[in-house]
């Protein structure tokens, strides 16, 4: 039995009300979207906020719609609703597929897109009870000064474990953040930073309100593959998200490929521009797999063999492209 620490609960009815509460309580408050990450983490005493601000009743955050040439998805849309949305399934199949693979069915009914993007990073030495962490002498990310993954390490390497982040990065999405100080829209690749302690630039008084993905003008193909020990419930041990715009002749105008669940920040594979303007054939896919393999170095931050996770990178890159290029609906 795991009890929660005491806190006061607030249920604002609008973004404006939520921002007022954030202004009053700021760093002493935590936002509660679906609670699937926050509540277990609070039970483990990873967070002990004095105020919890529940966003369930903020109706304006629950919408999905097309606006200004983009699909705008409210941050409180549940992962189950995102996976079921016909428009998302037709236009961005990799996003639908990623949402459908987060955790298990009940968690997807609760968890939200905003919550998944703001998911705390995970590590085998961090996501444990207070008793367990105390017995080990704590760690760099919480209450301690040493890293148990990298001996002598001064930088936390807990893993970004969200499924929707690599996909939305591969789709070039932006996020809208609101705080009592104003509002800003950031490309998602500026939202994440390579620090396992806190891997986003989200301020304590800031709220993700909306995710925007530009509607494709040409032929967009997408794929998403996830490695985990069980095909449900488990967090990923490796994720691969791919996207490309294809010309009529089958050559790729541009290619994006994001590898995640390894380190603190999802990794956009670099130095693949020489493949733009060429056909996405087996040789090109092989080269993309090798590029990803060379750039990614999994650690023992989760309970899955890092050597195996690395060897699976080219395999999952190939599967993701096969899925993207398969004829017909995915």
């Amino acid at each position: 039995m795991l009890t929660l620490p005491p806190f006061q609960f607030h249920s604002p009815k609008s973004v404006a009300e939520a921002l007022t509460l954030l202004e009053a309580h700021g760093a002493k408050a935590k936002l509660h979207a679906g609670g699937t990450d926050l509540v277990p983490n609070m039970k483990h005493r990873l967070f002990t906020p004095e105020h919890v601000i529940g966003l369930r009743d903020v109706a304006e955050l629950h919408r999905i719609g097309e606006r200004d040439g983009a699909l705008a998805i409210g941050s409180m849309v549940t992962l189950a609703d995102l996976a079921r949305d016909e428009r998302v399934r037709a236009i961005f199949p990799s996003l639908s597929s990623a949402a459908a693979q987060v955790a298990g069915p009940q968690l997807r009914e609760m968890g939200t897109l905003g919550g998944n993007l703001a998911l705390d990073t995970r590590c085998v030495y961090y996501n444990q009870t207070y008793f367990w962490r105390k017995a080990l002498g704590y760690c760099l990310k919480k209450d301690g000064t040493v890293c148990h993954v990298v001996k002598g390490g001064q930088k936390c390497v807990a893993a970004a474990s969200n499924d929707t982040a690599p996909v939305l990065l591969s789709l070039g999405a932006t996020v809208r953040l609101q705080s009592p100080r104003g509002s800003r829209e950031l490309p998602l690749d500026q939202f994440y930073v390579a620090d396992g302690i806190r891997n986003t630039v989200l301020e304590p008084d800031e709220l993700i309100t909306e995710v925007r993905v530009l509607l494709p003008q040409g032929r967009l193909v997408t794929g998403y593959q996830k490695l985990r020990l069980r095909a449900s419930i488990d967090y990923p041990a490796l994720t691969v998200a791919v996207a490309a715009w294809l010309e009529k002749d089958g050559t790729a105008q541009w290619i994006r490929m994001v590898i995640s669940a390894l380190g603190a920040r999802p990794h956009a594979v670099k130095r693949i521009e020489h493949l733009f303007g060429k056909p996405l054939d087996a040789a090109a896919i092989d080269e993309l797999g090798q590029a990803a393999y060379k750039q990614c170095h999994p650690l023992t931050n989760i309970n899955v063999d890092p050597g195996w996770r690395r060897l699976m990178i080219p395999v999952f890159v190939r599967r993701a492209w096969q899925q993207a290029l398969a004829p017909g609906p995915q």
């Binding site: 795991l2 009890t3 609960f9 609670g35 699937t36 009940q106 095909a231």
Partner: protein
């Protein structure tokens, strides 16, 4: 911090409205089990992994152990105690009984609520869809085969096992 005062909340459980005073940190599972004494929802891992605490909130299967009671305000909750209609067992309950789809029974209430939610959405699911819908409920005893069989029986896609293949508890 000092413990915040209890708050009065209202929600509907199995067709009846309840008003209860809870600390804000009370989970929905704690409110159901320890305030309303509905102990059919099980406290397994208590951190959102195992599915033993599954209840239906507005018809959707969710985990009560990581839901705050405060977020259930105004909602319609169905626990295993409310799955049957009066004296009439839900088809899923009947099928679990006829198929012997349990051993220790700890996962069973969550399993049956996930199955009932599936059949409400999709009255004739195939085997893969059943496995997918039940993939958030762990069972350490059965190996799942008879559980999946039971959902097929409940959806009218499989015959009830022969009498002599039924578990002994069912024999007269």
């Amino acid at each position: 911090m000092a413990r915040p005062a209890r708050e009065l909340i209202r929600f509907e459980v199995n067709g009846d409205w309840h008003e209860l005073a809870v600390e804000p940190r009370t989970t929905l599972l704690e409110a159901l089990r320890y305030v309303l004494k509905l102990t059919g929802s099980k406290q397994g891992c208590d951190k959102g992994d195992c599915g033993a605490c599954t209840v239906l909130i507005d018809g959707r299967p969710q985990l009560s152990c990581i839901s705050l009671a405060m977020t259930a305000v105004g909602r319609k909750i169905t626990t295993i105690e409310g799955l049957a209609e009066g004296n009439r067992a839900h088809p899923v309950q009947d099928a679990f009984d006829l198929c012997g789809a349990l051993q220790c029974g700890f996962c069973q209430s969550g399993m049956m609520l996930s199955a009932a939610a599936l059949l409400a959405d999709n009255p004739r699911p195939n085997r893969d869809e059943i496995k997918q819908a039940l993939s958030g409920n762990l069972c350490r005893c059965t190996g799942y085969t008879q559980i999946v069989d039971a959902v097929e029986v409940a959806s009218g896609q499989r015959d009830v096992p022969e009498r002599d293949e039924r578990p002994t508890t069912r024999r007269k």
